[in-house]
Symmetry: C2
Subunit: 342 residues, 2 copies
Amino acid sequence: MTSIKDLARHLDISIGTVSRALNNKTDVSQETKSKVLKAAAELGYVPNQAGRSLSKGKTNVIGFVLETDSEGMMQGDLFFIRVFDGMQSVLTKRGLNLVALLSPSNVEPEAYLQQIVARRFTDALVLSSIHRNDARINFLNQQGMPFATLGRSLVDGGQPWLDLDFDGVVEDAIARLTQKGHRTIALALPRNDLNLRHIMIESYRKNIAKAGLQLDEDLMIRISPGDRAGVTLVHQLINMPQKPTAVIYSDHILPFGIYRGLADLGLTPGVDLSLIGVGTRLAAFLTPDLTYYRFNLFDLGVRIAEALLTIMDDPTAAEGRPVVRESVPFTFIEGQSIADLT
Amino acid sequence: MTSIKDLARHLDISIGTVSRALNNKTDVSQETKSKVLKAAAELGYVPNQAGRSLSKGKTNVIGFVLETDSEGMMQGDLFFIRVFDGMQSVLTKRGLNLVALLSPSNVEPEAYLQQIVARRFTDALVLSSIHRNDARINFLNQQGMPFATLGRSLVDGGQPWLDLDFDGVVEDAIARLTQKGHRTIALALPRNDLNLRHIMIESYRKNIAKAGLQLDEDLMIRISPGDRAGVTLVHQLINMPQKPTAVIYSDHILPFGIYRGLADLGLTPGVDLSLIGVGTRLAAFLTPDLTYYRFNLFDLGVRIAEALLTIMDDPTAAEGRPVVRESVPFTFIEGQSIADLT
DNA sequence: ATCGAAATCGTAAACGTTTACGGCAATCTT
DNA sequence: AAGATTGCCGTAAACGTTTACGATTTCGAT
């Protein structure tokens, strides 16, 4: 590998000048600048990260922290790539490297995060799978590691966050369902303890009341673990005293299980049970067509990266600083999975 | 952050001794070792990666290089997490950090790889999405970067590789199909230029001949891009002069499209068209049950990591050194997607 | 008591980069 | 023309760690 020292010797100028030339600093003539750039290209010089990190105290690496749940994170799988790509598209322009980090399944996520922070492996982090009381937020704050979160939490770390508008999903879903005559609407809740679950519960309570319906706590069902969650859910719903006519969910895999569960009983989605929830492109494969909400995940990545950059550029951490905190909107995809009961 | 210097001052011993104590070297008494360890724990000392990298010339980081195809890599999505987890489970035991790297969609994968290698961001790499003539292999070899590949290539870099046994999948599938009386068997090929496609073609040719069937090149169909690949494929198959009774594939999403395409035409999988190929747990949601092959991806990650470690531990790159090069076996999952025509 | 070996530790250089500081020459000011 | 300014560059310290080398002490053996 050719180092800056080799470059300096080759050009017979000092190391300092080479460094300034490469970084396009002032205090170096235009002529030497171009000479240095030319030589650097010829010798295939690329700055060594470790050296630069040590000197600047910055690593130029941003970490995207993923969590695996006990299910092996099938849920997050399809989200990850798109968001990552979006983030990277803005970070590379700034010379920042994005890496995905995944806590080993045999290690506590908090312990893993501590390692990363302590060795100063990254300049900043983006956290996903945010919990209602996420201990990581305060931890990162007190460690002085800039970060943003995909999802909001009850604990406020002053960090920028972006959230998928699940609140709006539930609201819109209940509105659509009640308009089509549904009166007994179930809510399928994620099994893990993400804040998402509480957001859905609150939105459900609010909008059920708003629709003038009677709130039945039993209609909020936490889906069971495992691949057969959807199938199990169908059996649960079918056997309830007052059978729900519709179910709202946030898990994009769940409808596959529900379709399967219904098929096993000779029932038809959109007729015997209505479904609406969050979906990905996978939804296009269901018959009859699934009615669902979808999010622009690439855009989500772009925006969270931009939000992260603003707080990194302004390390003063001004108290009153406006910080990005938004729910990104969904788009509604019309299908045939909702029965019209009117 | 507390550095090794702080530790040394706090204990009133030299920096060098502290370092040797922390790294459990000889030449330091058991007594000071424990004193240092204790103080390190108290002060929350964690070695700085940049400093260590600079000194040792090693980063302790292993990169898992993912490729996105034009489809946004839905194909690889579900594979990624499991393999990553498997790799990490063995690498963390060695104090190595695993990160996932994804070339930006607006940057050439080769250029991205060059950056990573040139700045010595990682100690070693694992490449996925291997092409038939993968230029990255020779590049990494000449750069002296240790690596392993998930998938084999025509170009031999002497690196360890692990491959899903697609050859065996096609062989087994043809055997099962012909045993059930199928005579016109289509092969759905991946659209991208992965070596996988050629492996499937070769296995198909060989085993069609072995079964005493007439080879019809038209039966090897490259699936179209986009989400509706399966649907399109059904239409292609239906409209062929001699309609295939079965189709073999390697894309775990494809059967969803095929089921959908058949449903749209009022046809039934396993009756009007038989399917068999590679599947993931998603397959469990299809009705009627899909007949498929599945791989243990966590185990794949474990084994590729172990293979990588062996060549990293033995940097002499002995010519005759035995190197891991295996196809990992599949397990067969019986379903109802194959019609018995006998 | 002397010698050699072993155990233990400190010193300092090295890894590759950035940057504050000072020096020098050329140019500008009056 | 003297002084002030500017442009350009070299020097050297600093970042945090590892490690070769040498120095000192201890200990057992003769």
